[in-house]
């Protein structure tokens, strides 16, 4: 089963995908397997973050910006400096996740949520969820 989620982001925003992933797994009717979460963008990332304190999302984005600041001398100048930084952040964070499915639920820890990290924005974005039995 393949499910597509579409959503809009804010500039450097963080979007929670957890509930939609849980719902997709449930709708698949698959008891045991793997859930692959994949985004089709090069200036965004998908990752797992603790959801208890929302300021933690800002910390993640702040630290990524500290490591990869938006600077004017990126070699990639086809688009904007922010776009060039976004490509590097996206490469580091990654564009997919694999989550174990057990008892028709994604096997996430009690603090774990799946989040889409926007490194550009505001943009219209999409995410694919594929659930494989096994």
């Amino acid at each position: 089963m393949l499910k597509k989620i579409e959503f809009s982001t804010e500039k450097n925003g963080v979007t929670d995908l957890t509930s939609q992933i849980r719902q997709a797994v449930e709708e698949s009717g698959i008891d045991r397997g793997i859930c692959v979460v994949f985004i089709t963008h090069t200036t965004a990332g998908v990752t797992i973050i603790s959801f208890w304190d929302k300021l933690g999302f800002e910390d993640v984005q702040d630290e990524l910006r500290r490591l990869i600041p938006t600077k004017v001398d990126f070699k990639h100048q086809h688009d904007t400096p922010e776009d060039a930084a976004g490509h590097v952040k996206s490469a580091i964070v990654g564009s997919s996740l694999s989550i174990i499915v057990e008892q028709s639920k994604p096997l996430l820890g009690h603090s774990q949520g799946v989040y889409f990290l926007e490194f550009d924005g505001p943009r219209n974005r999409e995410c694919y969820i594929k659930i494989l039995e096994g």
Binding site: K11, T70, V72, D73, F74, Q77, H78, D79, T80, P81, E82, D83, D120, G121, P122, R123
Partner: protein, 383 residues
């Protein structure tokens, strides 16, 4: 039938301009994208935009666009001002913090070359927008944005004007995009809108052409053109006045809606003047343009309206395509005015530039727009 009889090279070029500009776009957009590096774009503190004749009109039209999109202080300056009166301290103290966008199709316009030389000596970065990469202007510049114009038959400039506007719009959109004034998606929307406006122009052409011919027939004996525009619309008025001179030999004054009340409304040539008001929806001084139309109605003065709103007092109206981005409106406003000039020329049997005959003959012994001594050299600049 009668309209067809008054076809001309100028009119044919206006008609093909939208499709030619669409084909130029795919070449020009990447060139504008790479004309300046990201560090250069971030180093700009002020922009000066300059050109002679039609290109002065293009500068007047797009000067504010640069300011709106890039957030940089932008000045529209005539090359004569830059070449003779501009003090070095106004170019700033840092290298290349002033960007001069110098427009000349041939790249040989003497004052523009002079202005580029002078500002370059003051440490400004010169970006030539030209159809000639080997020209003196290109050589005097740090960067060249080459517009690959096709060879056209001699006629007053129309497509070249549209191409200069397009080049400037693309540069402004690019600088604003890189400076993160808006998102890449928004920049893409601005670029696509330029193409959409050209398509809409193609669709409206027949109707505009018919109206332009009716106006030219009615005003065939006119002695004066009065072109009125404010803010972003002033450049269209300037260009339209230039076409009346060039194509039809009719003097054309250019003014804004405020000055008209102070000076031009005292003219006794009420209806022997061809008067056009340019106003796009969202023009910040639109209220004054509305007052202007009220006053003209009171004076029983006929006028032409060129814009994307409604003007109930106008004798003739050219409705421009609507756009969500008002600053893009002037991109195509020049088309109806150029059509009127082309039909006036045809009906009055006026040859382009008076046929360069008699007192209008231009040779190497006659000072002209192209024949002028370049300051600092003993050489004359010749096209």
């Amino acid at each position: 039938m009668e309209r067809q009889k008054h076809d001309s090279e100028m009119r044919r070029q206006i008609k093909q301009a939208p499709s030619l500009l669409k084909s130029l776009y795919s070449d020009l957009e990447p060139k504008a994208r790479y004309a300046l590096t990201t560090p250069e774009i971030y180093g700009i503190k002020r922009i000066i935009i300059t050109g002679c004749g039609d290109n002065h009109g293009a500068a007047l039209t797009t000067g504010r666009v640069f300011e709106i999109l890039t957030g940089c202080v932008t000045e529209v300056m005539h090359p004569l001002e830059l070449a003779y009166y501009f003090p070095s301290w106004k170019a700033g103290t840092g290298p290349k913090e002033t960007l001069v966008i110098a427009m000349s199709n041939s790249g040989k316009t003497p004052r523009v070359v002079e202005a580029a030389n002078r500002l370059h000596s003051f440490g400004a970065m010169i970006l030539a927008v030209t159809g000639n990469t080997l020209s003196p202007l290109a050589q005097a510049s740090d960067k060249v944005l080459h517009i690959d114009f096709p060879k056209l038959n001699p006629a007053p400039g129309t497509t070249t004007y549209g191409a200069m506007l397009m080049a400037c719009y693309l540069l402004a959109v690019r600088i604003g995009e890189v400076r993160l004034k808006y998102t890449m998606d928004t920049a893409g929307m601005y670029r696509n809108e330029l193409l959409r406006l050209l398509e809409e122009t193609e669709q409206s052409f027949e109707q505009w052409d018919e109206t332009a011919f009716s106006i030219a027939r009615e005003y065939k004996d006119t002695v004066l053109g009065e072109m009125i525009g404010s803010g972003l619309d002033y450049g269209s008025a300037y260009y339209s006045s230039a076409k009346l001179y060039e194509a039809a030999g009719i003097p054309g004054i250019v003014t804004n809606s405020e000055e008209w009340f102070h000076i031009h409304c005292f003219s006794k040539l009420i209806n022997s003047t061809v008067t056009a008001i340019f106003n796009h929806c969202g023009n910040e001084a639109e209220s004054r343009s509305l007052e202007l139309t009220e006053r003209m109605k009171h004076m029983k003065k006929e006028f032409i309206y060129i814009g994307n709103g409604q003007c109930r007092h106008a004798t003739y109206s050219f409705y421009m395509p609507d756009t969500s981005f008002g600053f893009l409106s002037p991109f195509i406003q020049w088309v109806p005015a150029a059509l009127i000039a082309s039909y006036l020329a045809a009906i009055r049997e006026e040859p382009y530039h008076r046929g360069f005959q008699g007192i209008w003959k231009e040779d190497e012994d006659t000072p002209s727009s192209w024949n002028s001594k370049i300051k600092g050299t003993e050489e004359k600049m010749h096209c």
